[in-house]
Amino acid sequence: MISQNLLQSTTQKCTTGCPILDRLLRGGIPCDSITEIVAESGSGKTQICLQLSLHAQLPVSHGGLSASALYLHTEFPFPFRRLHQLSLSFRSSNARHLPCNDNPCDRVYVQSVHSADELLEIMSKTESFIESSKTQLPVRLIVIDSIAALFRSEFDNTPVELKRRSSLFFKISSMLKALARRFNLAVLLTNQVVDMVGPNEGINGLRIGNLGCLYTSGRRVCPALGLAWANCVNSRLFLSRHEEVNREENGKLIGESGGFVCKQTRRKLYVVFAPHLPESSCEFVITREGLFGVEITAC
């Protein structure tokens, strides 16, 4: 066994396509590591995944991985139209950097997954798939959207079943990490949230990471799949959203005749834990062109 020379290893990162988010993440999503994005539905998890799948195709000199992406989705249907829409703006802003004139969507390999066992099967086939992709643009990004959907309904709430579920977490995580190590891939997973109702939810109330509590849409939530799964990922990001009501839109207050309510969705990305990132957050917006961080300047 030979020890690795640390001086010659730098962690490659895949850019998110937005310089503000990249700055928060110190370059983007790291390779040889599992990054998890936790959020409630409609927060932008899939948007980030699609955006990263496209930006992985950029050359390394521009923050990409010169790679194609394998997108495993568990929630249906897969947003093909949105991917296409994003690819248009991606192609127009990056035309000079992309190697040839084909459709960036062709470099995103999509596969649907229906259960945890099916995921394990796919993982064993993925190795040969990645090997064979080396001739064209190699696969260097794996996205699983979302990992939670595979486990939410299959297991009963007995200790034996939960233990079996935990073992499955570690097995899947171990296989993903081995793949990530062998082919220097970045692995991006999305996870859902569950509500926390009482003040002290026992094991769900356990604080994990920088944020004492996670709030989204005015509710207190915690990531799904529990403590065991939290041990399986290297980094965790949280996307929150909440509706902000602007009280005066046309000079009149709400309730007054003629006044109307203008709601604005404020979105924020937080670093819950990561070995290379400090506690930080930034706001972002989702537009037709994609997901972009915004810097809030005090006025």
Binding site: T11, P30, P159, A180, I203, I208, N231, R236, P275, H276
Partner: protein, 348 residues
């Protein structure tokens, strides 16, 4: 009774003991005729006995005090105390944490550190791997580190950040305390510090066992390794093991090897562990992973936990330290004292 180390017959031994000669030192200053008279053996036998006694006395005793030990390799507690006092500890860069640890991470011992994800286990592991390299002039061990990464949490850029901060701290210390710049110039560069960390990445439990078996040979060739960090020791063992008894055997075998390494090469072994829930009497409790039998195998055990918005470390098990907890923080420079103004060490 050291008399039975002597190659003499049982009856002769019995006669010596009943005459009151139980230690070799008691035979050192007696003449053969006196011995023969006292223990009722013949003169020639007494002569032989004294010859054997003087042989064992001169050949076998490596200890400075006059007492010989019964078994080869055994030490008496006095010598062990002297050795223990002369051991340097590895600082964690947080004075409060070092305080409750009795100076820092102990060499010749296995320390287990566990906590929830995001509490700072990997950060502490990297900090220790950097701090072991602090030169003797600054109170460190001047050694190298082995970092065994089973989860892929080690980020080179973070290690570089911590290494730079460590060198920065040493320069600060230089400027304020020592004042003689010429003599104590810091020649270390951050990349030197990275070069002194032997990094191994493990992807399965069989690789983990194989590597730990290989460490003996590796450290024999790299005698300046003074700490072995395993981050984390648990990850590959939490998958489905068909035979849990096998898992326990494998784990205890591994723990034994690591303990032997620690003692043989006088280095510190730091094992980072995860936290899991233990189902007891209908309620869930947090416990370090790998089960009850594993919890007996480590010498020291530190639990990291959140208390409000602060990170705390708690000595859960130690043969020489009292239970106490201290706050610490994870900063861009690494592990440091907690910045809250009312930090105090709570003794239990």
């Amino acid at each position: 009774m050291e008399i039975w180390r002597l190659p003499i017959s049982a009856s002769q031994r019995g006669k010596l003991i009943s005459a009151g000669y139980t230690t070799l030192s008691s035979l050192s200053s007696i003449s053969s005729s006196d011995l023969a008279r006292e223990s009722k053996v013949s003169e020639s036998e007494a002569l032989d006995i004294l010859k054997f006694a003087s042989h064992s006395h001169s050949g076998g005793s490596e200890m400075s005090s006059g007492n010989c030990s019964i078994f080869e390799g055994a030490q008496n507690a006095w010598d062990m105390l002297h050795e223990e006092e002369s051991l340097v500890h590895i600082t964690t860069s947080s004075a409060d944490l070092d305080n409750i640890l009795g100076g820092g991470i102990h060499c010749k011992e296995v320390t287990e550190i566990g906590g929830v994800p995001g509490i700072g286990k990997t950060q502490l592991g990297i900090q220790i791997a950097v701090n072991v390299q602090i030169p003797h002039g600054f109170g460190g061990l001047g050694g190298k580190a082995i970092y065994i990464d089973t989860e892929g949490s080690f980020m080179v850029e973070r290690a570089l950040q911590i290494a730079e901060a460590c060198i920065g701290d040493m320069s600060e210390y230089n400027r304020f305390i020592r004042k003689d710049f010429q003599a104590c110039e810091i020649r270390m560069q951050p990349k030197d510090i990275l070069g002194n960390i032997f990094y191994f990445r493990i992807c399965s439990y069989t690789e983990q066992i194989a590597l730990i078996n290989y460490l003996d040979k590796f450290i024999s060739e790299h005698k300046d390794v003074k700490v072995v960090v395993v981050d984390s020791v648990t990850f590959h063992f939490r998958q489905d093991f068909d035979d849990m008894a096998l898992r326990t055997r494998v784990l205890s075998g591994m723990a034994l090897k690591l303990m032997k390494l620690a003692k043989k090469f006088s280095l510190a072994v730091v094992l980072l562990n995860q936290v899991t829930t233990k189902h007891t009497e209908g309620s869930f409790q947090l416990a370090l992973a790998l089960g009850d039998s594993w919890s007996h195998t480590c010498t020291n055990r530190i639990v990291l936990y959140w208390n409000g918005n602060e990170r705390y470390a708690y000595i859960d098990k130690s043969p020489s330290l009292r239970s106490a907890s201290a706050a610490y923080s994870v900063t861009p420079r690494g592990i440091r004292n907690s910045s809250s103004s009312c930090k105090r060490i709570r003794m239990m």
